[in-house]
Structure formats: C-alpha cells, structure tokens
Amino acid sequence: MKQTKHPIPLRFVDHGARAKLISIQSSQRIAHRLTELGFVPGVELSVLADSGSALMIALGDTRMALEYPLTQALLVAVLD
C-alpha cells in the first residue's frame, strides 16, 4: 500500500479516498477529545461528505461530523 510522502490535513482529502491518521495537531484538550472519539493515530478513515462547513467522516462503523477546524487538526496519509 502506497502512502503520500507528507501527511496532509484531513480537510484536503478527496471524498471516498481512504486515509490513515498520522497525528493530531491541536491543543492537548482537543487532541484528547478526538482520541476519545476514536481518532487514534494508525486508524483508517475516509471522507463521506462535505457540508461546506463540516466533513462527514467514516471511522470504522462510526460516522462523525467534524467542523473544518477539527479536520484541519487531523494529519493523515492518503492510501491508495
């Protein structure tokens, strides 16, 4: 499985593309909360929809809506 060289914010991942979470770049508080919700480095996720202010993320069976600033904090490697 090939990975992109540099991690990019989840915000810029194309719909439907699979990505692997590399790290969370945010305050401790936000990073902690995202981790509680299952955004643990190493998990695979994908973008299902874009509302214009938030992204719908698929994380295993779970669907979560994250506002743009949060999706900016999640650095991922796109898988293909």
Binding site: R33, E36, D61, T62
Partner: protein, 177 residues
C-alpha cells in the same frame, strides 16, 4: 432493605437501550434527569425474586465529561454509586469502546462487560475470546446479540450471580466493622 440499582453504561449506539428494553420490558419509567433536558430511563427487573432498578445512562465516550450526557453518566456512576454497572460494548468496535471500560474500572465500581453486536462482529470475521477478555480486564464478560434477543438470559444470570456475591461481601464488611 435498600434498593438494588444497576446502571447501563457505554458509548452511544452500542445497544444500551435495546438491552434495557429487553431487561425491563414494559416496566419502565421515562423522566428527566433533575434540572437537565436529558431523558432518564429507569425500569424494573425481577432477578431471583428481588426487584432490581435498571437505569439506562446516556451514551458516553469518556468519563472526562465534555457533554451534558457524559456529565450525567459520570455523576451517576461516581456519586450515585450503583450496585453494579453493566458496561455495554460494541464487539465490532471494541478498541474505542474499551477506553470507557478502562475509565469505569478505575472508578472501582463493580463492573460487568456486556459484549453486544457479536453477530455483526462475526459477520466481519471478528472473533472475540471472552475468557481472555475477562481474564485481562478482571471482570465477567457476557456475549450478546441484543437486537436478536440473544444472550439476554445469560446476561441476567451473570447479573444475578454478581449481585448475590456483592451483597454477601457487603454483609461481611458490615459484620467486620
């Protein structure tokens, strides 16, 4: 005789309410948590001739409360001190679910792990060894597929057994003190 209280805790969408309905049937009471606009569901269940109050807690990802629902769940477990907490976990998403389980274990409350959605997990090829999970966590584990009604009687049996054991250890402590 004091009332026996069992709380159902777990992440959102793991089947807590399905299990709650299966346990209590029509003997339910829906209200609100004091001062909060979060529904409080309470029901009664007869276990070995004793009436047990079952409380369906709001879904929580963590006890480090960020939302009102999580605060209520935490406060009920930490301050309400239920006699037993049944932690419902989604077998198909075990990793994330066990985070809350670890926090519940840290509170020291008597815990029973109800591994739900085992049918969905099995369809994905996820096979869980309940004995290993139980040994690792140090709490009893029961398997369920609550949407199909499977595992409810085993859950009741484990609950009854744990409550009986907790009661006798409580009495022993009281006699010792």
């Amino acid at each position: 005789m004091s009332e026996i209280v069992v709380a159902l805790a777990g992440n959102p969408n793991v089947g807590k309410s399905t299990i709650f309905n299966a346990l209590t049937g029509l003997h339910q009471h829906v209200g609100n948590w004091p001062g909060k606009t979060v529904e409080r569901k309470e029901g009664r269940l007869l276990l070995n001739g004793k009436t047990v109050t079952v409380v369906d807690l709001p879904g929580a990802y963590s006890l480090a409360a960020r939302s009102l629902e999580e605060q209520i769940a935490r406060d009920f477990i930490a301050r309400g001190r239920p006699d037993l907490v049944v932690n419902v976990v989604d077998a198909a998403n075990l990793e994330r679910n066990l985070y809350l389980t670890a926090q519940l274990l840290e509170t020291g409350v008597p815990l029973l792990l109800a591994l739900n959605m085992t049918d969905i997990a099995a369809s994905r090829g996820i096979v869980i060894n309940p004995a290993a999970l139980s040994a690792g966590l140090g709490v009893p584990v029961t398997l369920l597929a609550a949407s199909r009604g499977e595992g409810i009687s085993a859950l009741k049996a484990t609950m009854a057994e744990m409550l009986a054991r907790l009661k006798s250890s409580k009495q022993m402590r009281e006699v010792a003190a």
